[in-house]
Point group: C2
Chain length 304, copies 2
Amino acid sequence: MTKPSVDLTIVGSIGIDTIETPTEKQEEILGGSVSYACAAASFFTHTGMVGVVGTDFPEEFKQTWKNMSIDLEGLQTVEGKTFRWSGVYEENMDNRRTLSTELNVFETFSPELPEDYREAPYLFLGNIHPALQLHVLEQVRDPKFILIDTMDLWINIDKEDLAKVIGKCHMLTLNESEAQLFTGELSLNNAAKQLLELGPEYVLIKKGGNGSMLFTKDDIFLLHAYPLDSFKDPTGAGDTFAGGLMGALAASGKTDKESIRQAMVYGSIIASFGVEEFSLERLKQLGRDEIEARVSEFKEMCRI
Amino acid sequence: MTKPSVDLTIVGSIGIDTIETPTEKQEEILGGSVSYACAAASFFTHTGMVGVVGTDFPEEFKQTWKNMSIDLEGLQTVEGKTFRWSGVYEENMDNRRTLSTELNVFETFSPELPEDYREAPYLFLGNIHPALQLHVLEQVRDPKFILIDTMDLWINIDKEDLAKVIGKCHMLTLNESEAQLFTGELSLNNAAKQLLELGPEYVLIKKGGNGSMLFTKDDIFLLHAYPLDSFKDPTGAGDTFAGGLMGALAASGKTDKESIRQAMVYGSIIASFGVEEFSLERLKQLGRDEIEARVSEFKEMCRI
Protein backbone atom coordinates (compact mmCIF):
# COMPACT_ATOMS: atom_id res chain seq x y z
CA MET A 1 0.00 0.00 0.00
CA THR A 2 1.40 3.37 -0.93
CA LYS A 3 1.01 6.27 1.48
CA PRO A 4 -1.87 8.56 0.41
CA SER A 5 -0.55 11.87 -0.88
CA VAL A 6 -0.89 14.96 1.29
CA ASP A 7 -3.61 17.45 0.22
CA LEU A 8 -2.60 20.18 2.62
CA THR A 9 0.83 21.11 3.96
CA ILE A 10 1.06 23.19 7.12
CA VAL A 11 4.25 24.80 8.38
CA GLY A 12 4.62 26.44 11.79
CA SER A 13 5.82 26.26 15.36
CA ILE A 14 5.59 23.40 17.83
CA GLY A 15 5.82 24.29 21.49
CA ILE A 16 5.46 22.94 24.95
CA ASP A 17 3.29 25.52 26.68
CA THR A 18 2.61 26.50 30.26
CA ILE A 19 -0.60 28.49 30.45
CA GLU A 20 -2.31 30.26 33.30
CA THR A 21 -5.90 31.52 33.13
CA PRO A 22 -7.87 33.25 35.91
CA THR A 23 -9.14 29.84 37.07
CA GLU A 24 -6.54 27.26 36.11
CA LYS A 25 -2.88 26.56 35.33
CA GLN A 26 -1.64 23.83 33.02
CA GLU A 27 2.06 23.02 32.66
CA GLU A 28 4.05 21.51 29.80
CA ILE A 29 1.11 20.93 27.45
CA LEU A 30 1.19 20.44 23.68
CA GLY A 31 1.04 23.73 21.76
CA GLY A 32 2.32 25.59 18.72
CA SER A 33 0.65 26.97 15.60
CA VAL A 34 1.22 23.89 13.42
CA SER A 35 -0.10 21.54 16.11
CA TYR A 36 -3.38 23.43 16.44
CA ALA A 37 -3.72 23.98 12.69
CA CYS A 38 -3.01 20.37 11.69
CA ALA A 39 -5.36 19.03 14.36
CA ALA A 40 -8.17 21.23 12.99
CA ALA A 41 -7.43 20.41 9.35
CA SER A 42 -7.25 16.67 10.06
CA PHE A 43 -11.04 16.52 10.45
CA PHE A 44 -11.40 17.26 6.75
CA THR A 45 -8.34 16.31 4.72
CA HIS A 46 -5.00 14.48 4.65
CA THR A 47 -2.63 16.95 6.26
CA GLY A 48 1.16 17.02 6.46
CA MET A 49 2.97 18.75 9.31
CA VAL A 50 6.26 20.65 8.89
CA GLY A 51 7.89 21.63 12.16
CA VAL A 52 10.67 20.86 14.62
CA VAL A 53 10.84 19.30 18.07
CA GLY A 54 13.71 18.44 20.40
CA THR A 55 14.75 15.02 21.62
CA ASP A 56 12.85 15.77 24.86
CA PHE A 57 9.54 15.85 23.01
CA PRO A 58 7.07 13.41 24.63
CA GLU A 59 6.11 10.40 22.53
CA GLU A 60 2.59 10.85 23.88
CA PHE A 61 2.26 14.18 22.03
CA LYS A 62 3.34 12.57 18.75
CA GLN A 63 0.79 9.85 19.39
CA THR A 64 -1.96 12.48 19.73
CA TRP A 65 -1.11 13.70 16.21
CA LYS A 66 -0.90 10.15 14.83
CA ASN A 67 -4.32 9.34 16.29
CA MET A 68 -5.68 12.29 14.30
CA SER A 69 -4.10 10.82 11.12
CA ILE A 70 -1.77 13.79 10.72
CA ASP A 71 1.15 12.95 8.41
CA LEU A 72 4.44 13.47 10.30
CA GLU A 73 6.97 12.89 7.52
CA GLY A 74 7.78 16.64 7.60
CA LEU A 75 8.42 16.65 11.34
CA GLN A 76 12.08 17.12 12.25
CA THR A 77 13.48 15.87 15.54
CA VAL A 78 16.69 17.67 16.50
CA GLU A 79 19.12 17.14 19.38
CA GLY A 80 18.16 19.53 22.17
CA LYS A 81 15.08 20.92 23.87
CA THR A 82 11.72 21.70 22.27
CA PHE A 83 10.53 25.32 21.98
CA ARG A 84 8.80 26.42 25.20
CA TRP A 85 6.37 29.23 25.86
CA SER A 86 4.52 30.32 28.95
CA GLY A 87 1.85 32.96 29.28
CA VAL A 88 -0.94 34.22 31.47
CA TYR A 89 -4.42 35.43 30.56
CA GLU A 90 -5.93 38.35 32.39
CA GLU A 91 -9.35 38.42 34.04
CA ASN A 92 -11.49 38.86 30.89
CA MET A 93 -9.32 36.51 28.75
CA ASP A 94 -8.90 39.35 26.22
CA ASN A 95 -5.29 40.09 26.99
CA ARG A 96 -2.45 37.69 27.46
CA ARG A 97 1.02 38.32 28.73
CA THR A 98 4.02 36.23 27.73
CA LEU A 99 5.96 35.16 30.81
CA SER A 100 8.81 33.39 29.04
CA THR A 101 9.93 32.16 25.63
CA GLU A 102 12.72 29.62 25.10
CA LEU A 103 13.37 29.12 21.40
CA ASN A 104 15.65 26.07 21.86
CA VAL A 105 15.65 23.91 18.68
CA PHE A 106 13.22 26.33 17.01
CA GLU A 107 16.02 28.93 16.83
CA THR A 108 17.80 27.18 13.98
CA PHE A 109 14.72 25.63 12.35
CA SER A 110 14.73 25.49 8.59
CA PRO A 111 11.56 23.99 7.15
CA GLU A 112 12.32 21.25 4.61
CA LEU A 113 9.37 19.70 2.81
CA PRO A 114 9.24 15.98 1.98
CA GLU A 115 8.80 15.30 -1.73
CA ASP A 116 5.06 14.68 -1.75
CA TYR A 117 4.34 17.71 0.48
CA ARG A 118 5.76 19.87 -2.33
CA GLU A 119 2.98 18.73 -4.63
CA ALA A 120 0.15 19.41 -2.15
CA PRO A 121 -2.45 21.71 -3.74
CA TYR A 122 -3.09 23.61 -0.49
CA LEU A 123 -0.46 25.23 1.72
CA PHE A 124 -0.79 27.03 5.03
CA LEU A 125 2.24 29.05 6.10
CA GLY A 126 1.69 29.33 9.83
CA ASN A 127 3.29 32.05 11.89
CA ILE A 128 7.10 31.74 11.64
CA HIS A 129 9.82 34.14 10.47
CA PRO A 130 8.94 35.52 6.99
CA ALA A 131 12.33 34.40 5.65
CA LEU A 132 11.41 30.81 6.55
CA GLN A 133 8.00 31.24 4.94
CA LEU A 134 9.81 32.37 1.77
CA HIS A 135 12.07 29.32 2.02
CA VAL A 136 8.97 27.09 2.00
CA LEU A 137 7.60 28.85 -1.07
CA GLU A 138 10.85 28.06 -2.90
CA GLN A 139 10.20 24.34 -2.36
CA VAL A 140 6.55 23.99 -3.39
CA ARG A 141 5.31 23.41 -6.95
CA ASP A 142 2.61 25.97 -7.68
CA PRO A 143 -0.06 25.18 -5.05
CA LYS A 144 -3.66 26.11 -5.89
CA PHE A 145 -4.12 28.07 -2.70
CA ILE A 146 -1.68 29.47 -0.14
CA LEU A 147 -2.75 30.99 3.18
CA ILE A 148 -0.22 32.95 5.24
CA ASP A 149 -0.43 33.91 8.90
CA THR A 150 1.92 36.21 10.79
CA MET A 151 2.30 38.09 14.10
CA ASP A 152 3.13 41.52 15.49
CA LEU A 153 6.81 40.55 16.03
CA TRP A 154 7.50 40.18 12.29
CA ILE A 155 5.51 43.32 11.48
CA ASN A 156 7.76 45.19 13.90
CA ILE A 157 11.13 43.72 12.95
CA ASP A 158 10.93 42.48 9.34
CA LYS A 159 8.06 44.15 7.53
CA GLU A 160 9.94 44.12 4.21
CA ASP A 161 10.35 40.32 3.98
CA LEU A 162 6.86 39.90 5.33
CA ALA A 163 5.35 42.13 2.62
CA LYS A 164 7.32 40.17 0.02
CA VAL A 165 6.04 36.76 1.13
CA ILE A 166 2.46 38.04 1.56
CA GLY A 167 2.57 39.14 -2.08
CA LYS A 168 3.14 35.54 -3.14
CA CYS A 169 0.11 34.15 -1.27
CA HIS A 170 -3.60 33.97 -2.09
CA MET A 171 -4.82 34.84 1.38
CA LEU A 172 -3.39 36.69 4.37
CA THR A 173 -4.79 36.17 7.85
CA LEU A 174 -4.00 38.32 10.85
CA ASN A 175 -5.60 39.76 13.99
CA GLU A 176 -7.44 43.05 14.15
CA SER A 177 -4.60 44.68 16.13
CA GLU A 178 -1.97 43.30 13.73
CA ALA A 179 -3.86 44.69 10.72
CA GLN A 180 -3.92 48.08 12.44
CA LEU A 181 -0.24 47.83 13.38
CA PHE A 182 0.81 46.84 9.85
CA THR A 183 -1.07 49.65 8.13
CA GLY A 184 -1.43 52.40 10.73
CA GLU A 185 -5.16 52.39 9.96
CA LEU A 186 -7.74 52.12 12.76
CA SER A 187 -10.53 51.30 10.29
CA LEU A 188 -10.40 47.63 9.36
CA ASN A 189 -11.91 48.40 5.95
CA ASN A 190 -9.04 50.77 5.21
CA ALA A 191 -6.43 48.44 6.70
CA ALA A 192 -7.70 45.61 4.50
CA LYS A 193 -7.55 47.82 1.40
CA GLN A 194 -3.87 48.51 2.08
CA LEU A 195 -3.09 44.85 2.75
CA LEU A 196 -4.83 43.75 -0.47
CA GLU A 197 -2.44 46.03 -2.33
CA LEU A 198 0.44 43.80 -1.25
CA GLY A 199 -0.93 41.19 -3.61
CA PRO A 200 -3.17 38.60 -1.91
CA GLU A 201 -6.66 38.14 -3.28
CA TYR A 202 -8.12 37.74 0.23
CA VAL A 203 -7.42 39.39 3.57
CA LEU A 204 -8.97 37.65 6.57
CA ILE A 205 -9.04 39.74 9.74
CA LYS A 206 -9.67 37.82 12.97
CA LYS A 207 -11.49 39.53 15.84
CA GLY A 208 -11.43 36.75 18.44
CA GLY A 209 -14.82 36.33 20.11
CA ASN A 210 -16.21 38.99 17.79
CA GLY A 211 -15.77 36.90 14.66
CA SER A 212 -13.86 37.64 11.50
CA MET A 213 -14.03 39.61 8.25
CA LEU A 214 -12.94 38.45 4.82
CA PHE A 215 -12.02 41.22 2.41
CA THR A 216 -11.50 41.12 -1.34
CA LYS A 217 -11.13 44.09 -3.69
CA ASP A 218 -14.88 43.84 -4.42
CA ASP A 219 -16.64 42.77 -1.27
CA ILE A 220 -16.66 41.83 2.40
CA PHE A 221 -17.85 38.66 4.10
CA LEU A 222 -18.75 38.92 7.79
CA LEU A 223 -18.60 35.88 10.05
CA HIS A 224 -19.60 35.64 13.71
CA ALA A 225 -17.86 33.56 16.33
CA TYR A 226 -20.02 30.82 17.82
CA PRO A 227 -21.22 32.19 21.18
CA LEU A 228 -19.92 29.87 23.91
CA ASP A 229 -21.27 29.86 27.47
CA SER A 230 -17.68 29.65 28.62
CA PHE A 231 -14.25 28.59 27.42
CA LYS A 232 -11.07 27.50 29.12
CA ASP A 233 -8.12 28.54 26.96
CA PRO A 234 -8.06 30.74 23.84
CA THR A 235 -4.45 29.77 22.97
CA GLY A 236 -4.22 28.59 19.38
CA ALA A 237 -7.78 29.65 18.47
CA GLY A 238 -6.56 31.59 15.44
CA ASP A 239 -4.42 28.68 14.25
CA THR A 240 -7.31 26.27 14.78
CA PHE A 241 -9.62 28.56 12.80
CA ALA A 242 -7.13 28.90 9.93
CA GLY A 243 -6.25 25.20 9.95
CA GLY A 244 -9.91 24.18 9.91
CA LEU A 245 -10.57 26.64 7.10
CA MET A 246 -7.72 25.23 4.99
CA GLY A 247 -8.70 21.65 5.76
CA ALA A 248 -12.30 22.22 4.72
CA LEU A 249 -11.20 24.14 1.60
CA ALA A 250 -8.78 21.36 0.61
CA ALA A 251 -11.57 18.82 1.10
CA SER A 252 -13.80 20.82 -1.27
CA GLY A 253 -11.02 20.88 -3.88
CA LYS A 254 -12.09 24.43 -4.73
CA THR A 255 -10.78 27.95 -4.17
CA ASP A 256 -13.75 30.15 -5.10
CA LYS A 257 -15.39 32.68 -2.77
CA GLU A 258 -18.40 30.56 -1.92
CA SER A 259 -16.21 27.61 -0.97
CA ILE A 260 -14.07 29.91 1.16
CA ARG A 261 -17.16 31.19 3.00
CA GLN A 262 -18.22 27.64 3.81
CA ALA A 263 -14.68 26.68 4.83
CA MET A 264 -14.51 29.68 7.17
CA VAL A 265 -17.69 28.49 8.90
CA TYR A 266 -16.06 25.11 9.55
CA GLY A 267 -12.84 26.75 10.73
CA SER A 268 -14.74 28.97 13.12
CA ILE A 269 -16.75 26.07 14.55
CA ILE A 270 -13.66 23.89 15.04
CA ALA A 271 -12.03 26.82 16.87
CA SER A 272 -15.10 27.16 19.10
CA PHE A 273 -14.63 23.54 20.19
CA GLY A 274 -10.88 23.95 20.58
CA VAL A 275 -11.07 26.71 23.20
CA GLU A 276 -13.43 24.66 25.38
CA GLU A 277 -10.37 22.85 26.79
CA PHE A 278 -6.60 23.39 26.99
CA SER A 279 -4.26 22.21 24.21
CA LEU A 280 -5.86 19.61 21.88
CA GLU A 281 -7.89 18.01 24.68
CA ARG A 282 -11.26 18.86 23.14
CA LEU A 283 -10.26 18.36 19.50
CA LYS A 284 -8.81 14.92 20.06
CA GLN A 285 -12.17 13.61 21.27
CA LEU A 286 -14.32 15.64 18.87
CA GLY A 287 -16.61 13.82 16.45
CA ARG A 288 -17.59 14.87 12.96
CA ASP A 289 -21.26 14.62 13.99
CA GLU A 290 -20.70 17.21 16.75
CA ILE A 291 -19.09 19.53 14.21
CA GLU A 292 -22.00 19.20 11.78
CA ALA A 293 -24.57 19.72 14.55
CA ARG A 294 -22.89 22.93 15.71
CA VAL A 295 -22.48 24.17 12.12
CA SER A 296 -26.24 23.74 11.59
CA GLU A 297 -27.08 25.45 14.87
CA PHE A 298 -24.65 28.27 14.03
CA LYS A 299 -26.09 28.86 10.56
CA GLU A 300 -29.55 29.17 12.09
CA MET A 301 -28.19 31.75 14.57
CA CYS A 302 -26.80 33.82 11.70
CA ARG A 303 -29.73 33.55 9.30
CA ILE A 304 -31.36 36.83 8.27
CA MET B 1 -58.79 65.61 8.43
CA THR B 2 -58.12 63.81 11.68
CA LYS B 3 -54.54 63.28 12.80
CA PRO B 4 -53.33 59.74 12.01
CA SER B 5 -52.96 57.68 15.17
CA VAL B 6 -49.48 56.97 16.51
CA ASP B 7 -48.21 53.39 15.97
CA LEU B 8 -45.12 53.75 18.13
CA THR B 9 -44.56 55.83 21.24
CA ILE B 10 -41.00 56.61 22.30
CA VAL B 11 -40.05 58.13 25.65
CA GLY B 12 -36.58 59.38 26.51
CA SER B 13 -34.19 62.26 26.93
CA ILE B 14 -33.70 65.32 24.75
CA GLY B 15 -30.40 67.09 25.04
CA ILE B 16 -28.28 69.81 23.55
CA ASP B 17 -24.89 68.12 23.16
CA THR B 18 -21.32 69.31 22.79
CA ILE B 19 -19.17 66.52 21.40
CA GLU B 20 -15.47 66.25 20.77
CA THR B 21 -13.89 63.48 18.71
CA PRO B 22 -10.19 63.07 17.86
CA THR B 23 -10.74 65.10 14.67
CA GLU B 24 -13.65 67.46 15.30
CA LYS B 25 -15.69 69.36 17.87
CA GLN B 26 -19.35 70.27 17.50
CA GLU B 27 -21.14 72.52 20.00
CA GLU B 28 -24.79 72.76 21.00
CA ILE B 29 -26.11 70.14 18.60
CA LEU B 30 -29.39 68.23 18.81
CA GLY B 31 -29.10 65.04 20.87
CA GLY B 32 -30.86 62.80 23.36
CA SER B 33 -32.13 59.22 23.23
CA VAL B 34 -35.67 60.05 22.11
CA SER B 35 -34.43 62.34 19.34
CA TYR B 36 -32.20 59.66 17.81
CA ALA B 37 -34.77 56.91 18.32
CA CYS B 38 -37.72 58.84 16.85
CA ALA B 39 -35.64 59.97 13.87
CA ALA B 40 -34.73 56.33 13.12
CA ALA B 41 -38.28 55.04 13.64
CA SER B 42 -39.78 57.78 11.48
CA PHE B 43 -38.46 56.07 8.33
CA PHE B 44 -40.90 53.23 8.91
CA THR B 45 -43.88 54.23 11.02
CA HIS B 46 -45.89 57.06 12.58
CA THR B 47 -43.97 57.83 15.75
CA GLY B 48 -44.88 59.95 18.77
CA MET B 49 -42.19 61.59 20.91
CA VAL B 50 -42.45 61.97 24.68
CA GLY B 51 -39.79 64.22 26.18
CA VAL B 52 -39.07 67.64 27.63
CA VAL B 53 -37.23 70.74 26.43
CA GLY B 54 -36.68 74.17 27.93
CA THR B 55 -37.85 77.50 26.57
CA ASP B 56 -34.34 77.98 25.13
CA PHE B 57 -34.78 75.03 22.76
CA PRO B 58 -34.11 76.13 19.15
CA GLU B 59 -37.14 76.15 16.86
CA GLU B 60 -34.79 74.80 14.16
CA PHE B 61 -34.37 71.52 16.11
CA LYS B 62 -38.15 71.11 16.38
CA GLN B 63 -38.37 71.75 12.66
CA THR B 64 -35.89 68.90 12.03
CA TRP B 65 -38.26 66.52 13.83
CA LYS B 66 -41.33 67.93 12.04
CA ASN B 67 -39.64 67.45 8.67
CA MET B 68 -39.22 63.78 9.60
CA SER B 69 -43.00 63.60 10.35
CA ILE B 70 -42.39 62.83 14.02
CA ASP B 71 -45.50 63.53 16.11
CA LEU B 72 -44.67 66.11 18.79
CA GLU B 73 -47.90 66.16 20.77
CA GLY B 74 -46.08 64.42 23.64
CA LEU B 75 -43.28 66.98 23.72
CA GLN B 76 -43.37 69.22 26.81
CA THR B 77 -41.84 72.69 26.78
CA VAL B 78 -41.05 73.90 30.28
CA GLU B 79 -39.77 77.27 31.55
CA GLY B 80 -35.97 76.98 31.91
CA LYS B 81 -32.99 75.52 30.08
CA THR B 82 -32.86 72.27 28.08
CA PHE B 83 -30.79 69.32 29.34
CA ARG B 84 -27.16 69.66 28.24
CA TRP B 85 -24.43 67.07 27.93
CA SER B 86 -20.86 67.29 26.75
CA GLY B 87 -18.41 64.47 26.16
CA VAL B 88 -15.19 63.55 24.45
CA TYR B 89 -14.25 60.41 22.51
CA GLU B 90 -10.80 58.95 22.86
CA GLU B 91 -8.47 58.06 19.98
CA ASN B 92 -10.10 54.77 18.92
CA MET B 93 -13.68 56.07 19.49
CA ASP B 94 -14.29 53.09 21.82
CA ASN B 95 -14.33 55.04 25.04
CA ARG B 96 -16.07 58.27 25.79
CA ARG B 97 -15.72 60.51 28.79
CA THR B 98 -18.50 62.76 30.03
CA LEU B 99 -17.20 66.28 30.57
CA SER B 100 -20.38 67.81 31.96
CA THR B 101 -24.05 67.10 32.52
CA GLU B 102 -26.65 69.80 33.28
CA LEU B 103 -30.04 68.22 33.91
CA ASN B 104 -31.98 71.54 33.86
CA VAL B 105 -35.65 70.92 32.94
CA PHE B 106 -34.98 67.18 32.65
CA GLU B 107 -34.51 67.02 36.43
CA THR B 108 -38.24 67.33 37.15
CA PHE B 109 -39.47 65.62 33.96
CA SER B 110 -42.52 63.45 34.33
CA PRO B 111 -43.56 61.78 31.08
CA GLU B 112 -47.26 62.32 30.34
CA LEU B 113 -48.67 60.56 27.29
CA PRO B 114 -51.29 62.22 25.07
CA GLU B 115 -54.49 60.19 24.77
CA ASP B 116 -53.75 58.53 21.41
CA TYR B 117 -50.14 57.67 22.40
CA ARG B 118 -51.60 55.46 25.16
CA GLU B 119 -53.27 53.28 22.52
CA ALA B 120 -50.10 52.84 20.41
CA PRO B 121 -49.40 49.11 19.91
CA TYR B 122 -45.60 49.58 20.16
CA LEU B 123 -43.74 51.35 22.96
CA PHE B 124 -40.04 52.09 23.37
CA LEU B 125 -38.99 53.14 26.87
CA GLY B 126 -35.73 54.93 26.15
CA ASN B 127 -33.10 55.37 28.81
CA ILE B 128 -34.56 57.46 31.67
CA HIS B 129 -34.98 56.78 35.41
CA PRO B 130 -36.74 53.43 35.93
CA ALA B 131 -39.38 55.11 38.11
CA LEU B 132 -40.33 57.29 35.13
CA GLN B 133 -40.40 54.24 32.87
CA LEU B 134 -42.83 52.63 35.35
CA HIS B 135 -44.91 55.81 35.30
CA VAL B 136 -45.23 55.47 31.50
CA LEU B 137 -46.33 51.85 31.82
CA GLU B 138 -49.14 52.97 34.15
CA GLN B 139 -50.53 55.16 31.36
CA VAL B 140 -50.47 52.81 28.37
CA ARG B 141 -53.25 50.36 27.44
CA ASP B 142 -51.69 46.96 26.90
CA PRO B 143 -49.25 47.56 24.02
CA LYS B 144 -48.39 44.57 21.82
CA PHE B 145 -44.66 45.05 22.26
CA ILE B 146 -42.58 47.07 24.74
CA LEU B 147 -38.83 47.58 24.41
CA ILE B 148 -36.87 48.99 27.33
CA ASP B 149 -33.39 50.50 27.30
CA THR B 150 -31.32 51.52 30.32
CA MET B 151 -27.82 52.57 31.36
CA ASP B 152 -25.08 51.81 33.92
CA LEU B 153 -26.24 54.68 36.18
CA TRP B 154 -29.61 53.02 36.96
CA ILE B 155 -27.99 49.61 37.35
CA ASN B 156 -25.72 51.15 39.96
CA ILE B 157 -28.23 53.27 41.87
CA ASP B 158 -31.70 51.74 41.39
CA LYS B 159 -31.42 48.13 40.33
CA GLU B 160 -34.61 47.18 42.18
CA ASP B 161 -36.95 49.53 40.28
CA LEU B 162 -35.09 48.70 37.09
CA ALA B 163 -35.63 44.94 37.54
CA LYS B 164 -39.32 45.63 38.25
CA VAL B 165 -39.88 47.62 35.05
CA ILE B 166 -37.83 45.20 32.93
CA GLY B 167 -40.17 42.44 34.11
CA LYS B 168 -43.12 44.25 32.53
CA CYS B 169 -41.49 44.57 29.08
CA HIS B 170 -41.17 42.19 26.13
CA MET B 171 -37.59 43.08 25.27
CA LEU B 172 -34.65 44.54 27.16
CA THR B 173 -31.77 46.18 25.32
CA LEU B 174 -28.44 47.13 26.88
CA ASN B 175 -24.73 47.28 26.11
CA GLU B 176 -22.31 44.42 26.60
CA SER B 177 -20.68 46.16 29.58
CA GLU B 178 -24.07 46.95 31.13
CA ALA B 179 -25.18 43.32 30.82
CA GLN B 180 -21.97 42.30 32.59
CA LEU B 181 -22.41 44.98 35.26
CA PHE B 182 -26.04 44.04 35.90
CA THR B 183 -25.35 40.31 36.31
CA GLY B 184 -21.71 40.04 37.34
CA GLU B 185 -21.26 37.57 34.47
CA LEU B 186 -18.46 38.02 31.92
CA SER B 187 -20.04 35.54 29.52
CA LEU B 188 -22.81 37.25 27.55
CA ASN B 189 -24.67 33.93 27.21
CA ASN B 190 -24.80 33.61 30.98
CA ALA B 191 -25.60 37.30 31.48
CA ALA B 192 -28.51 36.99 29.05
CA LYS B 193 -29.84 33.90 30.85
CA GLN B 194 -29.98 35.87 34.10
CA LEU B 195 -31.63 38.87 32.46
CA LEU B 196 -34.28 36.69 30.79
CA GLU B 197 -35.22 35.48 34.27
CA LEU B 198 -36.37 39.01 35.10
CA GLY B 199 -39.28 38.42 32.73
CA PRO B 200 -38.66 39.77 29.22
CA GLU B 201 -39.00 37.34 26.32
CA TYR B 202 -36.01 38.90 24.52
CA VAL B 203 -32.67 40.30 25.66
CA LEU B 204 -30.78 42.30 23.04
CA ILE B 205 -27.12 42.90 23.87
CA LYS B 206 -25.41 45.62 21.84
CA LYS B 207 -21.69 45.35 21.07
CA GLY B 208 -21.15 48.60 19.14
CA GLY B 209 -19.07 48.02 16.01
CA ASN B 210 -19.09 44.29 16.78
CA GLY B 211 -22.82 43.91 16.25
CA SER B 212 -25.49 42.61 18.58
CA MET B 213 -26.93 39.41 20.01
CA LEU B 214 -30.61 38.63 20.58
CA PHE B 215 -31.28 36.04 23.26
CA THR B 216 -34.48 34.13 24.04
CA LYS B 217 -34.85 31.16 26.38
CA ASP B 218 -34.49 28.86 23.34
CA ASP B 219 -32.05 30.44 20.94
CA ILE B 220 -29.64 33.18 19.94
CA PHE B 221 -29.66 35.45 16.89
CA LEU B 222 -26.33 37.00 15.90
CA LEU B 223 -26.21 40.25 13.94
CA HIS B 224 -23.15 42.03 12.58
CA ALA B 225 -22.68 45.78 12.41
CA TYR B 226 -22.35 47.14 8.87
CA PRO B 227 -18.61 47.70 8.35
CA LEU B 228 -18.06 51.40 7.68
CA ASP B 229 -14.86 52.81 6.20
CA SER B 230 -15.10 55.56 8.77
CA PHE B 231 -17.59 57.31 11.00
CA LYS B 232 -17.74 60.69 12.67
CA ASP B 233 -19.75 60.36 15.88
CA PRO B 234 -21.05 57.22 17.61
CA THR B 235 -23.30 59.22 19.98
CA GLY B 236 -26.85 57.89 19.90
CA ALA B 237 -25.99 54.82 17.81
CA GLY B 238 -27.69 52.49 20.29
CA ASP B 239 -30.82 54.67 20.39
CA THR B 240 -30.86 54.86 16.60
CA PHE B 241 -30.55 51.07 16.37
CA ALA B 242 -33.34 50.49 18.88
CA GLY B 243 -35.57 53.19 17.36
CA GLY B 244 -35.10 51.80 13.86
CA LEU B 245 -35.81 48.30 15.12
CA MET B 246 -39.05 49.40 16.80
CA GLY B 247 -40.10 51.48 13.79
CA ALA B 248 -39.58 48.58 11.41
CA LEU B 249 -41.33 46.17 13.79
CA ALA B 250 -44.30 48.53 14.18
CA ALA B 251 -44.49 48.84 10.38
CA SER B 252 -44.65 45.05 10.10
CA GLY B 253 -47.49 44.94 12.63
CA LYS B 254 -45.95 41.74 14.00
CA THR B 255 -44.00 40.69 17.08
CA ASP B 256 -42.70 37.22 16.15
CA LYS B 257 -39.02 36.23 16.09
CA GLU B 258 -38.63 36.38 12.32
CA SER B 259 -40.08 39.88 12.19
CA ILE B 260 -37.77 40.94 15.02
CA ARG B 261 -34.73 39.61 13.11
CA GLN B 262 -35.70 41.64 10.06
CA ALA B 263 -36.42 44.73 12.17
CA MET B 264 -32.99 44.41 13.81
CA VAL B 265 -31.35 44.47 10.39
CA TYR B 266 -33.13 47.73 9.58
CA GLY B 267 -32.23 49.19 12.98
CA SER B 268 -28.59 48.28 12.51
CA ILE B 269 -28.44 49.78 9.02
CA ILE B 270 -30.11 53.03 10.11
CA ALA B 271 -27.56 53.26 12.93
CA SER B 272 -24.72 52.73 10.44
CA PHE B 273 -25.92 55.79 8.52
CA GLY B 274 -26.48 57.79 11.70
CA VAL B 275 -22.87 57.62 12.88
CA GLU B 276 -21.57 58.88 9.53
CA GLU B 277 -22.29 62.44 10.72
CA PHE B 278 -22.93 64.25 14.00
CA SER B 279 -26.44 64.54 15.48
CA LEU B 280 -29.23 63.86 12.94
CA GLU B 281 -27.28 65.40 10.03
CA ARG B 282 -27.08 62.16 8.04
CA LEU B 283 -30.51 60.81 8.97
CA LYS B 284 -32.33 63.97 8.00
CA GLN B 285 -31.11 63.67 4.42
CA LEU B 286 -31.32 59.87 4.21
CA GLY B 287 -33.56 58.28 1.59
CA ARG B 288 -35.50 55.03 1.84
CA ASP B 289 -33.74 53.82 -1.33
CA GLU B 290 -30.33 54.25 0.32
CA ILE B 291 -31.55 52.21 3.29
CA GLU B 292 -32.82 49.38 1.06
CA ALA B 293 -29.60 49.35 -0.98
CA ARG B 294 -27.44 49.03 2.14
CA VAL B 295 -29.73 46.37 3.63
CA SER B 296 -29.31 44.30 0.44
CA GLU B 297 -25.55 44.78 0.42
CA PHE B 298 -25.39 43.89 4.12
CA LYS B 299 -27.43 40.71 3.74
CA GLU B 300 -25.05 39.57 1.00
CA MET B 301 -22.10 40.24 3.33
CA CYS B 302 -23.66 38.05 6.02
CA ARG B 303 -24.88 35.20 3.81
CA ILE B 304 -23.47 31.77 4.61
